[in-house]
């Protein structure tokens, strides 16, 4: 930051003070202006953002103490340095309490003025840097993968916005791949806790012992292999958010331990009896029917109610098909850019398949299908041949449980995938061409694309 980037406003009713400070700061290359009273200074506030304001206490009209309060109400990042001819501890304390950065008595020792200004600039630099970093954090944590305009998604986002402002525990429910963690991150990044971490814990992936150590941490030597102190995820999430994914999968013992933490806001590391205070918000997610688990005695009812203050249900992708083209295009843009492939678009036929597919794996599956299509695509357009649906037997067109229905659907899918190249399809199906022709006739299959 150069001195010429720093705007200093001098507010003093004495011309000689304004003039001498003006010259002093100008000779240092600062951008300086003066005002003879608070009213004139307020006018200057309309046209410029001031970094540092040197403010006389004794002025006719609004005095410096009052004007300092006004400046602080306008912008707390402005650094106010109070100057006065009357050294009074009371006024000094009051102005500092009101947010002034420093208090100096005139005449000022040149060395003192230099130090005060240097410190003020450093503080201003740190404030600016802090604001920039916060902006960067917000940019990084903004969950940009939430794409769609369907009423169902809009309703979810409305809930996210409403619940983010509170500190309530949230239960997110939805099928696998619907984006439960993204929604949790969206709540966190819009909450007052956004500058503290959001810590994710996949309860389904860990054994009881591992989960305990993961959550609470452990002291060195607390068990075989604990060769050093480990800070648990709850401790790391202090002031932030803990996201418990697959919460329905934790054991009864862990449910009890977790309930205790939620009730007392304290926990102890494994191998220690020293309680540690924590403050975090809990967001949990599940794709299980927790009410049923409670009814069957597999999930504690008291924990269920603690975790489930607000519920957000994320609809499966098949229930918001109008979002599929937007999501497909979003992932298409994302992966063509990151893979730097010269693919221009998704063909209408391919998009049609994407829209009609049932997406049992939801948005995650759609993302994977698009990513794979971009990898395998050799041309400039993604065609149906580039698409591969791992769960396509469950697609919309494959309704029916009989062996014949499944066979018909499977043959049709392979034919479409091979663009009705009979030899290639027969080879994949491991039947001869005659049998394949026979089956095509039997199931009345026709080439549609």
């Amino acid at each position: 930051m150069n001195n010429s980037d720093i705007n200093i406003l001098i507010v003093d009713d004495e011309f000689s003070v304004r003039d001498s400070l003006y010259k002093w700061f100008r000779s240092d290359g600062f951008n300086v202006d003066t005002a003879e009273n608070a009213a004139a200074a307020l006018e200057k506030f309309k046209s410029k953002n001031w970094d540092i304001v040197l403010l006389d206490i004794k002025m006719p009209g609004m005095d410096g103490i009052e004007f300092n309060r006004h400046i602080q109400s306008l912008n707390k990042n402005i650094i106010v340095i109070i100057i006065t001819a009357y050294a009074s501890v009371d006024t000094a304390v009051q102005s500092i309490k009101d947010g002034a950065f420093e208090y100096i008595t005139k005449p000022i020792d040149p060395d003192n003025l230099t130090h005060v200004i240097r410190n003020a600039i450093e503080k201003r630099r740190l404030t600016r840097e802090n604001l920039e970093l916060r902006q960067k954090i917000e940019d990084l944590t903004s969950p940009d993968d939430i794409v769609g305009t369907s009423p169902q998604l809009r309703q979810v986002l409305k809930m996210v916005a409403a619940v983010a402002k509170t500190d309530s525990t949230v239960m997110i429910r939805g099928e696998s791949g619907t984006g439960k963690e993204l929604i949790a991150r969206a709540i966190h990044s819009n909450s007052l806790r956004r500058y503290a971490p959001i810590i994710s814990i996949n309860c389904g992936a860990l054994t009881d012992t591992l989960l305990e150590s993961e959550l609470f941490g452990h002291e060195k030597g607390s068990f075989t292999g604990a060769d050093r102190l480990r800070i648990g995820k709850l401790e790391r999430a202090n002031n932030g958010t803990v996201f418990f994914d697959e919460i329905g999968n934790i054991s009864m013992k862990m449910q009890m331990d977790l309930l205790r933490v939620l009730e007392t806001k304290h926990f102890t590391r494994v191998g220690s009896d020293k309680p540690i205070a924590v403050d975090f918000r809990i967001i949990s997610a599940t794709n299980r029917d927790l009410e049923r688990a409670v009814a069957e005695g597999h999930f504690r009812e008291d924990l269920y109610f603690r975790l489930n203050v607000v519920t957000i249900d994320i609809p499966p992708l098949r229930e918001r098909r109008e979002d599929i083209p937007l999501l497909a295009q979003y992932f298409f843009n994302k992966y063509t850019q990151s893979m730097t492939k010269p693919i221009k678009e998704i063909s209408a036929a391919a998009m049609n398949q994407l829209i009609n597919y049932d997406w049992p794996g939801n948005v995650r599956e759609l993302r994977n299908v698009i990513e794979r299509a971009i990898v395998v695509c050799d041309g400039e357009v993604i065609t149906p041949e580039d698409l591969s649906f791992p769960f396509s037997a469950r697609s919309k067109q494959a309704i029916g449980d009989s062996l014949e229905a499944v066979e018909k659907n499977h043959i049709e899918r392979i034919l479409n995938r091979t663009n009705w190249q009979i030899s290639q399809a027969a080879e994949i199906l491991q039947i001869d061409r005659t049998t394949l022709y026979h089956k095509i006739k039997k199931y009345n299959l026709t080439k549609t694309m």
Partner: protein, 179 residues
Amino acid sequence: MTKRIYVIPIGFNDRSLFDPLCLSLAHRFGMPAQIEHKPINIHRAFDPYRNQYNSSVLLAQLIEDPPPDAGRILGVCNFDLFIPILTYVFGEAQLEGIGAIVSIYRLKNEFYGGQSDHHLLMERLLKEATHELGHTYHLYHCHNMGCVMNSSVYVEDIDEKSVRFCRECERMILNQAQK
């Protein structure tokens, strides 16, 4: 008309300081420098409460009715200077003007309880005179520690820097001189 630097003694006239000062300033700023006597009312600048002289009041008198060939006017006094907001100053200058003033009062070793050192006083005076005249060329304080335009709060700061402009300040002086 050849522009020149007028060096105006205020309150004292020590040729052993002024003659070498003129020579050095002429060399540094590329124009002749000479001593000029001008009546200055120092009582108008005196503040009895502070027992100091207001440098801005003196500077205003120095630049009043300048000679037509005055490229720069430098007042040199031997009493303590101040500007209203600060406890003291070594000197003052018009940023991008023609006038500057320096005082030898706080440049003397005796002020700090030391032995008189004429050579050191001469060096400090030349640095401060060059520094203040540098401001008249629209130079700001320079962050380059060795540059004469580096800000000096204490006399030790003056002793630490050189009498020369850094390359960047030198370039700006040349640009301004060509205007």
